[in-house]
C-alpha cells in the first residue's frame, strides 16, 4: 500500500529545488548587465531555504520517506550553517566573476544544486540518499571547477577531481554494497540494528566493508593518505570556486561521516576509531609539515585544510557525544574561518591579476589595514591562538580526546599545531612586516555588502571565540 510520506521535513529541499529551477529559467531571459538579478534571486533562494529550515525545525527529530530522511537537531544546525556560508560565498565571489568574465547565471545554478546536494547529504538516512546527495554535490562541483573554459589549469583540475572523485565514490559504493550484502538493508537505522546482531558472527566481512566506507569518506574529506587531489584542486580552480569547495562541503562531509559511522556503524566504533587515529595523525603531520613549503596561498590553505581534517577526525574518533559535538563545532567554525581567508584573497583579485601567492599579500597592512586585520584574525584562528574561535575549537576536541585517555594523541595534536602555527605566522608576517611590492596590492574598495559581510564574518571569529557557547549549545544538543 502506498503511504503518503510526510513531506514537511523535506520542505527546505523542496523550496530550494523549486527556486533553483526558477533561477535557471529566469536567468535565461536576463541580459548580461542584469546578471545581478540572478545573484539576488540565488541569495533569496538560500534565505528562503534558511527560513524553511527554521520553520520546520523539530523539537527533537522526525524522519520521513520510509526512514530514509531525517530532520534532527544535527541536520537543522548544519543546514543553517551551509546556507549562511553559501550566501557568503555567492556575494564574495561576485567581483571576481565579473573581473574574469565568468559572471554567468550557471555559476549560481550549479552552486545552488551543490547546496541542495549538501542539504540532502545532511539529512540522508539511507545509503541511497547519502549517495544521491553526494553525487549531486560532486557533479555540480566538477562543472563549477571547469567553469572558466579558457583556463587550462581549471580544466585539468576538474578532470582530476572528476576521476579521483569518481574513484572515491566507487570505493564508497563498494563498501555500501558489501554492507547491503551482509545486512540486506540500505536504511541506516536498520543497518545499525543488524550490524549489532552480526558483529560477533561476521567480524571480518564487516571490517572489510567498513574499510571501504572509511576510505571513501577519507577521500571526500581529504584525510591523508587520500588527500592528493586537494591541493591541486584548490590551486587550479578559480578562486571563487575554491572558496566554495573549501567551506560548505566540509560541513556536508562531516554530516555524511556522522550519518554513516556514528548513526549506522556505531557498533564498529572500535574499528573505525583505530583507523581514524592513523588517518588523523597522518593528516596533521603531512598537512602541517608540507604546508610550510608552500608559496601559493591556495595550496597552503589546502594543506591547512588537511591538517584541520585531522583535528575533526580526532573529535569523531573519541566516540563520545562530547567528541562528536566538538568535531561539529570544529567543522562549522573551520568553514567560517576558511570563508574569511578565501574572502580576503578573492578581494585582491583584479582584472588580469590573479592573487594567489603568499607574496601577493605583501604589505597588505599598509594598503588595506582592515582586511589585513581580518585575514590575520583568520590565520590566528586557524592556528588556534586565543581569543579567536579556533582556540576554543581545538580546546574542545582536545578535551574529548583526553577524556577517553588518549593523552598521547592530544600531545601529538598540539605539537603538530605548533608546526602549523609557523606557516600561519608567515602569512601574517608577509602582510604586516613586508614592504608593498610595486603595483601588486593597491587599495581595494569592495562594494558595501561585501564590506559588511566580510567584516562581520571576520569579527565573528573573535565573537565566537569570546562566546563559544552561542554555537556550542547547538552542537551539544545535536548529540544529546
Amino acid at each position: 500500500m502506498f503511504i503518503q510520506p510526510n513531506l514537511l521535513p523535506a520542505l527546505p529541499e523542496m523550496v530550494m529545488l523549486a527556486m533553483t529551477c526558477l533561477v535557471l529559467v529566469v536567468d535565461l531571459f536576463l541580459p548580461q548587465e542584469k546578471r545581478g538579478f540572478t545573484l539576488l534571486l540565488s541569495v533569496l533562494t538560500l534565505l528562503l531555504t534558511l527560513a524553511a529550515v527554521v520553520f520546520v525545525a523539530p523539537v527533537d527529530s522526525i524522519s520521513s520517506f520510509g526512514d530514509s530522511f531525517v530532520l534532527d537537531q544535527l541536520a537543522v544546525t548544519l543546514k543553517i550553517a551551509v546556507c549562511i556560508i553559501t550566501i557568503l560565498v555567492f556575494i564574495y565571489s561576485r567581483d571576481y566573476l565579473i573581473d574574469h568574465d565568468i559572471y554567468k547565471g550557471e555559476f549560481y545554478v550549479l552552486g545552488l544544486f551543490a547546496t541542495l546536494g549538501m542539504l540532502i547529504m545532511i539529512s540522508a538516512h539511507s545509503f541511497l540518499m547519502i549517495y544521491l546527495g553526494l553525487e549531486l554535490l560532486s557533479l555540480s562541483l566538477y562543472a563549477m571547477i571547469a567553469f572558466n573554459r579558457k583556463s587550462l589549469m581549471a580544466s585539468e583540475s576538474a578532470m582530476k577531481y572528476f576521476v579521483l572523485g569518481a574513484m572515491a565514490s566507487g570505493l564508497l559504493l563498494y563498501g555500501i554494497s558489501i554492507f547491503y550484502g551482509i545486512t540486506g538493508t540500505l536504511n541506516i537505522n536498520e543497518l545499525a540494528a543488524l550490524v549489532a546482531a552480526q558483529a560477533d558472527q561476521n567480524p571480518v566481512a564487516l571490517a572489510f566493508a567498513l574499510t571501504f566506507i572509511v576510505v571513501g569518506l577519507s577521500f571526500k574529506l581529504g584525510a591523508v593518505p587520500f588527500h592528493m587531489w586537494l591541493p591541486d584542486i584548490y590551486q587550479g580552480s578559480p578562486t571563487a570556486v575554491t572558496l566554495f569547495i573549501g567551506t560548505a562541503p566540509k560541513i556536508a562531509g562531516f554530516a555524511m561521516t556522522i550519518r554513516l559511522l556514528v548513526d549506522g556503524l556505531s557498533d564498529l566504533q572500535v574499528d573505525w576509531s583505530q583507523m581514524f587515529i592513523v588517518l588523523a595523525v597522518a593528516s596533521m603531520a603531512i598537512g602541517n609539515i608540507i604546508a610550510i613549503a608552500q608559496t601559493n596561498f591556495k595550496r597552503l590553505l589546502a594543506y591547512s585544510t588537511i591538517s584541520h581534517v585531522g583535528f575533526i577526525l580526532l573529535g569523531i574518533l573519541a566516540g563520545t557525544a562530547n567528541g562528536y559535538a566538538s568535531a561539529m563545532f570544529y567543522t562549522i567554525t573551520y568553514a567560517i574561518t576558511a570563508s574569511v581567508s578565501f574572502g580576503v584573497l578573492i578581494l585582491l583579485n583584479r582584472k588580469g591579476f590573479e592573487a594567489e601567492n603568499i607574496n601577493d599579500l605583501s604589505g597588505l597592512n599598509h594598503t588595506n589595514p582592515w582586511y589585513a586585520a581580518m585575514l590575520a584574525i583568520a590565520m590566528f584562528s586557524m592556528a588556534g591562538v586565543p581569543p579567536t574561535v579556533g582556540f576554543y575549537a581545538k580546546l574542545s576536541v582536545l578535551q574529548a580526546v583526553v577524556q577517553v585517555d588518549l593523552v598521547w594523541l592530544a600531545v601529538a595534536a598540539v605539537l603538530f599545531s605548533v608546526i602549523g602555527l609557523f606557516y600561519y605566522l608567515r602569512v601574517v608576517k608577509v602582510m604586516y612586516f613586508d614592504e608593498v611590492v610595486e603595483d601588486q596590492v593597491t587599495s581595494i574598495k569592495p562594494s558595501l555588502d561585501v564590506r559588511i559581510l566580510l567584516s562581520a564574518n571576520g569579527l565573528s571569529l573573535i565573537g565566537l571565540g569570546m562566546f563559544p557557547s552561542l554555537l556550542m549549545v547547538y552542537c551539544i544538543r545535536a548529540f544529546a
Binding site: N365, P369, F380, V385, P386, P387, F391, Y392, L395, S396, L398, Q399, V402, Q403, V407, A410, V411, V414, L415, S417, V418, L421, F422, L425, R426, V428, K429, Y432, F433, P468, S469, M472, V473, I476
Partner: protein, 505 residues
Amino acid sequence: MYADWPLLSLVIWTPIIGGILVLFAGDKEPSGARKIALLVSIVTFLLTLPLYSQFNTDTHLVQFVERESWIPAFNIEYFLGIDGISMPLILLTSFTTVIVVIAAWEVIQYRASQYLAAFLIMEGFMIGTFSALDSILFYIFFEAMLIPMFLVIGVWGGANRIYATLKFFLYTFIGSVLMLIALIYMYNKSDGSFAIFDFHYLPLTLTEQVLIFLAFLVAFAVKVPMWPVHTWLPDAHVEAPTGGSVILAAIMLKIGGYGFLRFSLPITPDASAELDWLIITMSLTAVVYIGFVALVQQDMKKLIAYSSIAHMGFVTLGFFIVFRIMDVDSSAQGSALALEGGMVQMISHGFISGAMFLCVGVMYDRMHSRQIADYGGVANTMPVFAAFMVFFAMANAGLPGTSGFVGEFMVILASFKASFWIAFLAALTLILGAAYTLWMIKRVIFGGIANDNVKALSDINKREFLFLSLLAIAVLVLGLWPDPLVNVMHATIDNLINHISISKI
C-alpha cells in the same frame, strides 16, 4: 566605595577598549592617538590604585572576586580575583604601560596609533593573566598577549626583527600547548572544573604530578626564561623597539615566575620537591653562566637581556629553594623569606630592567646604534642622562639602597639556610652583575668623548626626564622601604608555604 565595582574587569577592559579606540583614531592625526593612549593608560593606572589601597593584607583569600559562568559546556568561568602575589604585578603592569606610552611619544612616528594600541591591548591581556583564576581564562590571556607583542617586534623592530619575532612566538607557543594538555587532564580528573584553586586541592599521584610539573615547567621556563630555553630572549630584546623590550623585560618575564607560584608549586608540590634540584641547577646556571655570557656582549641591549636572565634565575632559585629550607627549618620563616625575596626581585627587576632598556632607547634614538664600541664619554655631553643611567646600573648590580639589593639579599639569605654552596654560587651574581653592568657603564658613559657622534649628543628632554625619574623614584623607594610591598604578600605567601608543605600523595 569600591567594594561593589567590578574593578578587575575595569582594569582589564579599559585598556583593551581604549586600544581599539586608539586604533580607530588612526595615523592621520597621530597626536590625537597619543593623547587618547596616554589618557587610557593613566586612567587604567589610577583604577589599579584602589586594588592596593583597599587590599586586605590579613587574609590569603582572593579579593575583588568576580565570578560568572562563561562557557557552561565546559564549566569555564569568567573568574577573576587577586591575592598578594598577583596584586603587585598588576600595579607594575599598569605603571609600566604609562611609562611605555610616554616613552613612545615622539620616538614612534611610523604607524603610531597601531603601536600604542598594541601596547594598550597587551596591557589588558597581561592584567587579565595575573587576575584570572580560571585556568582556561588564564591560558587565553596568556596566549593572546603574544599576538600584539609579535606584531610590535615584527613591525617596529630592528633589522633582524622577523627572525626574532617568529622565534619569540614559536618558543612561547610550544611551551604553552603542553600546559594546555595538562590543564585539560586535570579538568577531567577534577570532575569538570577549570578553576585553579580546585586544581590546588586535586589529589594526584607522583607520576601524574611529575608529568604535569614538566608540562608547566616547559611553559613557564620558556617565559621566564630559564637556561637552556632562554635563547629567544636576547634576539627578541635586541630587535624589539624600546617599548617592546620594556614590556618584555618588565612584565612578560614575570608571568613565568607568577606561573610557578600560581600553578607549579601548589598544584604539584610533591613533584616540585622531587625535582627542585633541576630548577635549582637551571637557576644557578642562569645566574653564573649567563652572567659570564653577559660580560662579553658588545650590544647594550643584549647585555641587559642576558642580565635579565641572570636576575630571573634568582627568582626561580628563591621559589624552589623552599623545599630545601623546609627540610632543615620547620618554621615557615625561612621559606617565606625565599619566596618573598623572589617576588621582590620580580617587581624590582621590572623597574630596573625597564629603566635600563629605556636608557638604551634614549641613546639609540640619538645615535641609532646599540654597540658599546660606538659610545664613550656620554657623561660629557649628557650629564643628566648619565646620572640616571649610572643610578639604574648600580641598581642592576644590586647596590644596597636600591630595590635590586633587597630581593637578591633576601634570596641569598634564605639560601644560606639550605646550603652554603648554593648561597655562595648565587652570591657570585653580585660580583658578576657589578662586573658586566659597571664595565658597560665605564665604556659607554665615562671616559673622554669617543667620537663626533657622541660630541653631538643632546641631553634628555623633559619627557625623557619624566619617565626616567618616575622609575628612579620607584627603584629608590622600594630599595629603602620595601615593607609596603612585602606586607601585602605575607598572608598569601604563608598560606602557600603551608599548602606546599602538605603532601598530595
